[in-house]
Symmetry: C2
Subunit: 255 residues, 2 copies
DNA sequence: AGAAGGACCAGTGGTCCGTA
DNA sequence: AGAAGGACCAGTGGTCCGTA
């Protein structure tokens, strides 16, 4: 029953994704989430009213009692994913939360979705994406992985990068931030610094570093990470290390 | 005086580009062409009226008598590049025409422009294009190479690809089409077939073929060439070799 | 306050079609 | 008729900000 839609991926403590897909993954791919999304999807930017109607129609039977839906609010809105909390490696999140193993698992899923998109493109003789593009996110929705979306994945790319490039440091950071009771945002911010240090050791070419790693190469280098590396390479003084704003438009001469 | 704006490139029979830049290339990069383009450029899509006004203002002194401008029409429109004709390797085009050596030279110039754009991007710590993108065409305009434009370059990419991948075949094709008095369009069409043959020999992966060649790797594989390779790999029968339409939207399932 | 993600927007790849 | 290229357009990368 606990099969994932993308492929049988063995991982523990995935929580929300699994809850929601119980009794859905098996049903021929026509689960509630997928219906919602596919129904609203064709070409037009979806208007708000549409969305709600669709959700009301096919809600309240399959997701009910599944473990975490229809919060206390008595409403019928589509559920968001539970927020992430800082967990140690291997630790399951408690309550209506998702852990960081689950976060990283989503990046692996995206990789598998990309591979599928690439295979389809090759079969058809179409141009073949080398990165996780909009097309891949659209495909994710289509196959029912509606908990994957672009803003979320882009938001945490550098955290996944640290996990790929230096798992020990990544694990240590998680433990330390968990212990200190820091929130996800603080942990996320803290992931920049060790990455910049890695870049420093390797000649500052963050693109080359991403591209040299097979699982990381499919992700665009986040703007802020690129900017931090650039700033640090030049006067490391002027930059308050991982300040929250290398930020606003380092005034930009365009052709 | 015959310096090019991009770099001193040694090539013969360039005709129009050289004519037009005589007395302009030396003037600090502020020649007529550049003024026209830079003037109309900032952000807004240029409206027609604007364009004409700008041209009228700074026309009629530098280009006049330069060798091929202000055709017989007595008007003040910006000149187009002379059309290409099929020339043999090394042959200069006569009259108000440009030869194929000049065409291929434009691809080399784009490569140099890309390298400049890449260097600037690296200096600034910005993302660095690996292909000839819109940014490069914009840069070409900015540095005064206004005879380079996207539709033209994309139109003939596969001709340049043949020149890169099999110069002998490319040369033979030029001679044969010149001899038979064929026009440029016919020559251009004929360039597909030997490319498909090359792809066939190398396992049909036209993207890999482009990427393996240092000068070709910076160009996007043209849609039609990709389609022809795909079609030929499958039932070679159903496709009238280089038909003018593999073409219209090989009905396309999108995610 | 902290976080998830729909939706927007500037600039892209691609090429049509009004122009000469 | 043959050809050059301005200009358009669907879908992209990037991320803000209204939402919960």
């Amino acid at each position: 029953r606990n099969r994932h839609l993308v492929s049988g991926y063995a991982i523990d403590s995935l929580s929300q994704e699994e809850e929601q897909e119980k009794e859905v993954a098996g049903s021929g791919g026509g689960g509630t989430w997928e219906v919602v999304v596919v129904g609203g999807r064709k070409k037009q930017r979806r208007r708000k009213s549409e969305k709600k109607v669709v959700v009301e129609v096919d809600h309240g039977d399959e997701l009910e009692g599944g473990g975490g839906d229809v919060d206390g609010d008595g409403g019928y809105e589509r559920q968001r994913e539970h927020p992430f909390i800082v967990t140690e490696p291997g630790e399951a999140a408690r309550g209506k939360k998702n852990g960081l193993d689950y976060l990283f698992h989503l990046y692996e899923q995206c990789r598998e979705l990309l591979i599928q998109v690439q295979n389809i493109a090759k079969e058809r003789g179409e141009k073949c994406p080398t990165k996780v593009t909009n097309q891949v996110f659209r495909y994710a929705k289509k196959v029912g992985a509606s908990y994957i979306n672009k803003p979320k994945m882009r938001h945490y790319v550098h955290c996944y990068a640290l996990q790929c490039l230096d798992e020990d440091t990544s694990n240590a950071l998680r433990r330390s931030f968990k212990e200190r009771g820091e929130n996800v945002g603080a942990w996320r911010q803290a992931c920049y610094k060790p990455l910049v240090a890695i870049a420093a050791r390797q000649g500052w070419d963050i693109d080359a570093i991403f591209n040299a790693h097979p699982r990381l190469a499919i992700w665009y280098v986040p703007t802020k990470l690129r900017q931090l590396c650039h700033a640090e390479r030049n006067g490391a003084t002027a930059v308050p290390a991982v300040s929250s704003s290398v930020s606003a438009k380092t005034d930009h001469v365009t052709f």
